[in-house]
Amino acid sequence: MKHPYSLALLTQAILAAPPVVIRNAHVIPVTRPAFTGSVVIENGRIRQAAEQVTVPQGATIIDAAGQYLMPGIIDCHSHIGVEAINEGSVSVSSMAGIEDVIAPEEIAIYRALAGGVTTANVLHGSANSIGGKCAVIKLRWGASAREMLFEGAKPGIKFALGENPKRTNSPSSRGAGTARYPTTRMGVEDVIREAFTEAKAYQKEWREYQLKTERREPAIAPRRDFKLEPLVDVLENRRFVHAHCYRSDEILMLLRVAEEFGFRIRTLQHVLEGYKVAKEIAAHGAGASTFSDWWAYKVEAYDAIPYNAAIMLKKGVLVSINSDSPDVIRRLNTEAAKTMRYGGLTETEALSLITINPARQLEIDGRVGSIDTGKDADLVLFDKHPLSNYAVAQKVFVDGELRFDRARDLAARPEREAARQALLERERPGARRAPARRAQ
C-alpha cells in the first residue's frame, strides 16, 4: 500500500502514473452503443474510448480480449465505510453528518469495490423524519477518510418516511421506551413541515442580518444552528434531499410538502410503491432509487414489486437500482439485470440503472457514469457480460488507478495468511518480543 494518508501523494501518484490502455475489450459506454475496442487512461481520466485509439508512449497495455469493460458502478444508497449510521435520538438530526464518521478501512468498501462499485452515496440511516447529512465517496481503497470523498459532489441529506421514522421497527418501541414523536405518518409530515417552517424563519433571520451588515447598520450575527443550516441549504438548492420512502401516499405527501416549501426532492430512496405514483414523481422531477426485488419484509414493503424500476423508467422517472446493503452492493450488476426479467428493459437501460442514472441523480454525471472522453477513469472489467450471474469483476479502476485486481487479490492470500501467522507467533507467550517492523 502506498502511504495512505496524503492527498498530495495520492494526486501525485495518479499524475505520475504511466498511461494505461485497455485493449480488445467489449466496451459498454452505456451512453452510446457498445463496441469492441480500446480505452486510453491518462492522468486518471479517460483520454480516448474507441475502436481505434492512439496508444500513448510508455503506456501500460492490458489485453482484455473476450472481456467486458463498463463504467464503474454507482450505488445511490449505501451505508458502507462508516462508524455510525443513525443519530436516532431526535426526529430531526440534520446536524449529524456522515462525512465526520467515514471509516476508510472498513472491509465492506473493498468488497464493494471487488464487485465493480467505484462510487457510493453513503447515507445516514432512516430512523428519523429528517436524518443526517450524506457523503458521496469514491471507493479509493487505501486512501484516508478525507480522500474518499467525491470532491465537488453536491452535499445531500437523508429524509425518511413511514415505518422507520415512526419507529415501529426500532428496538425501543418493543421495550418500555417512551414514545418519540412522530408515531404516525401524519406526524412524519408534521415533523418535516415544522422543521422547514423553522428553517425559513432561520433563513429570514440571517437574511435580515446580512441586509443590516450591507447597510452598515449595527447587528449581531444570529446564532448558527447546525440543525437548520442544512435545511436552508435545501431551500436554497445547495443540498440534495434523498428521501427514504415506501408507500405511494407518503411519497405523494413528501412531494407536496417540498412543493409547498419551494424545494425539490432529488431522489426518492427505495420508493417501493413508486410505480403507483410514477406520473407524480416524474412531474415533480424527483429521481427514484429502488431495490431490484426486495419485498414483504415489512408491511410497507408488501406491495413492492420487482417491476417497479421498469414502470417508473417507462413513465419518465430517472431511476437507479441501489443496494442499501454491504452484501448487495457487491453485485449491483446482476441486480440491474433483473429489470430485464421484470419489465423487459434493454441491456443498456438495465446498465444505466447502476451507472449514468445514479450519476445524474447525484449530479456527478459530468465526471462518472459512462465511458466517455474526459470522464474519470472509473472502470470495471468483467470476464463475462456484466448482466450475467456468471460474471466476475477482474479489474476495477478508480481515477485510472487499479484499486482492485482479482489476480492480485488471489496471489496475496498466502502472504496475508503468513503475515498473520507471523504476528500470532510473536504474541505467543515466551516468544521473544522483537521490535515490530514498522509499516510504511
Binding site: H3, P4, Y5, S6, E83, A84, I85, N86, E87, G88, S89, V90, S93, M95, A96, G97, I98, D100, V101, I102, A103, P104, E105, H124, G132, S144, A145, R146, P171, S172, G177, T178, R180, I220, A221, P222, R223, R224, D225, F226, K227, R416, A419, R420, L423, L424, R426, E427, R433, P435, A436, R438, A439
Partner: protein, 445 residues
C-alpha cells in the same frame, strides 16, 4: 523498611501491620506540612533533561524549588544531605492524562444509560438536542474537586510520579484538568496550574438521548463552539449597552468551554487522529490529542498540524473475554504489534508527545508500557522526556516543571539505576521539595 535512616530526623519507630504497609507505600517526611528544610543530593548522576547530564553533581533544593545544581554547589549547614553515590536523579515523572484525585464525577444530563460508565443518578432525563447540553460538565475543574486523600497518590509517587495532569473525564465535555503535584498536602497545595485544558470525548448518551452516535457527538461539539461564539457576541453587546436589550441567559456550559485553554480530543486509531485534527482546525482551537496507538501511520499530518499528542501506554491487547478460537484480523494484529512503535515514530517525525496512564491502575504496568515503547525503538532519553518535560510543555507549565533547572519546582525521582530498567529501584522521590522514601515491598521490582 528504610525508615529512620541517618539523614532522616529522629522519629518514633512505627509499628505498621504488614497489611497496611502496602497502603502506606510511601511515608512522607515528617513535618512535611511545614516548610521543608533544604535538601542536598551529592555525588549523584543528574539527568536534567533540558541540559547535559551531570555525571557527578550536587543538587540543592530549598523552599520547594531547585536552588542550584552543578559540580560544586555549596551545601547549607542545616540541609539534609543525601549521598547520591550510585544514584541517578531525574525530574519527577508526570502522567499526562490522569483522573488521579480528580474527584467525584458529577451527574450530566443525557447520561441515562449504564453503558455510559458508572450509572447516572435516577431521574436523569434524556437530552432532546444540543440545547440540553448533554453529557456536559464543562464548568467543573479538577482543581476544585481535588481529593487529596486519593490513595493512588501514594502508589504513583512510589513509582516515581511526582505530578499529573488530572481531568474530569465523564461524558463529552468532562471538565477542566489541573496539573497537580503528587504531594501529601492539602488539595490547594497540590495544584500547580488549576486549569490546563478541557477534556472532551466523543461519548454517546443513553438510548433515546442526544447524541446517540459518533456523528451526533461531533455535531454537538461543533454546535457548542458556535453557540459559545454567539454567546460572547451577545454578552459583549449587552455589556456595552444593556438598555433595551434582552439579557442573554447565563450558560455555564459555554462559560466552561470559553475558559478552556486547550481542548483535549480523542485520537487513538489513525482515522480518529485525522478526524480530531480536522475538528480542531475547524473549531480553531488549540487541541491536544490523546490516544495515539496508531499514530505511527499519521505522523506527517500530526507534524503539520503542530498539535501534540498524548500517547496511552495501555497498549492494545487481545480481549481476555473473547473467543480463544477467534481468528483476529490482520489489521487488529498489526495494530497490536505496531502500536508500541508509535512513540518512536512520533519522536522521529518531531511530533511532541507525552505518555499517559489511560486508566492503568498500577505504576508497574505503566512502566512496562513505557518499556515496550523503548523496545520498539524509542530511545530512553525521549521516553524520559515524554514523561517529564513534554507534558510540562504541552500543558504550559514547563517554566516550573519537567526538568532539573534552578528555579523550577523540586520534583525529583532518585533511582539506583536507569529509570526504566526493570531492576532499578526508586530510592527517593521529591515532590515540592519534600522527600519521600518508597517502602520497598518484599517482591518489588
Amino acid at each position: 523498611m528504610i525508615l529512620g535512616q541517618a539523614d532522616s530526623p529522629p522519629m518514633k519507630p512505627l509499628r505498621i501491620p504488614p497489611c497496611a504497609r502496602a497502603a502506606l507505600a510511601l511515608l512522607p517526611f515528617l513535618g512535611a506540612a511545614a516548610d521543608p528544610p533544604a535538601l542536598a543530593v551529592r555525588n549523584a548522576r543528574i539527568v536534567t533533561v533540558t541540559g547535559p547530564v551531570l555525571e557527578n553533581g550536587t543538587l540543592l533544593v530549598r523552599n520547594g524549588l531547585i536552588e542550584a545544581l552543578g559540580g560544586n554547589v555549596p551545601v547549607p549547614a542545616n540541609a539534609w544531605v543525601l549521598d547520591g553515590a550510585g544514584l541517578t536523579v531525574y525530574p519527577g515523572l508526570m502522567d499526562a492524562l490522569s483522573t488521579l484525585a480528580a474527584g467525584a464525577d458529577l451527574p450530566q444530563p443525557g447520561a441515562a444509560s449504564p453503558r455510559n460508565g458508572p450509572s447516572a443518578p435516577s431521574g436523569a432525563t434524556p437530552a432532546r438536542g444540543p440545547e440540553d447540553r448533554p453529557l456536559t460538565t464543562s464548568w467543573i475543574k479538577a482543581a476544585d474537586t481535588l481529593q487529596a486523600a486519593d490513595r493512588n497518590i501514594d502508589l504513583f509517587r512510589q513509582a516515581g510520579f511526582t505530578g499529573a495532569a488530572t481531568f474530569p473525564t465523564r461524558g463529552i465535555f468532562g471538565g477542566h484538568g489541573a496539573v497537580i503535584n503528587l504531594a501529601s498536602a492539602p488539595a490547594g497545595k497540590m495544584v500547580v496550574e488549576p486549569s490546563v485544558g478541557l477534556y472532551a470525548a466523543l461519548a454517546t448518551g443513553g438510548a433515546g438521548s442526544f447524541p446517540s452516535s459518533l456523528m451526533g457527538s461531533i455535531s454537538y461539539i461543533r454546535q457548542i463552539y458556535a453557540d459559545a461564539a454567539h454567546y460572547v457576541a451577545m454578552k459583549e453587546a449587552y455589556a456595552a449597552n444593556a438598555r433595551g436589550r434582552q439579557r442573554p441567559a447565563y450558560d455555564r456550559a459555554l462559560e466552561g468551554v470559553l475558559e478552556a485553554r486547550r481542548l483535549l480530543l480523542p485520537g487513538s486509531r489513525a482515522v480518529e487522529i485525522e478526524r480530531s485534527l480536522r475538528l480542531a482546525a475547524e473549531l480553531k482551537v488549540r487541541a491536544v490529542l490523546y490516544g495515539g496507538h496508531e499514530a505511527y501511520r499519521v505522523t506527517e499530518p500530526l507534524k503539520q498540524s503542530g498539535m501534540p499528542i498524548l500517547v496511552s501506554v495501555k497498549w492494545p491487547e487481545r480481549d481476555p473475554n473473547g473467543d480463544p478460537d477467534e481468528v483476529e484480523s490482520l489489521r487488529q494484529l498489526r495494530l497490536r504489534a505496531q502500536a508500541p512503535g508509535s512513540p518512536a515514530a512520533l519522536a522521529q517525525a518531531g511530533v511532541r508527545f507525552a505518555f499517559y496512564s489511560d486508566g492503568l491502575q498500577s505504576p508497574d504496568q505503566i512502566k512496562r508500557g513505557v518499556r515496550r515503547a523503548i523496545e520498539n525503538g524509542l530511545d530512553e532519553t525521549a521516553a524520559l522526556r515524554a514523561m517529564t518535560l513534554a507534558p510540562a510543555e504541552i500543558f504550559g507549565v514547563a517554566d516550573r516543571l519537567g526538568s532539573i533547572e534552578p528555579g523550577k519546582i523540586a520534583n525529583l525521582v532518585i533511582a539506583d539505576g536507569p529509570l526504566f530498567a526493570e531492576t532499578t529501584r526508586i530510592r527517593y522521590v521529591v515532590v515540592d521539595g519534600v522527600k519521600y522514601e518508597p517502602v520497598q515491598r518484599e517482591n518489588a521490582r
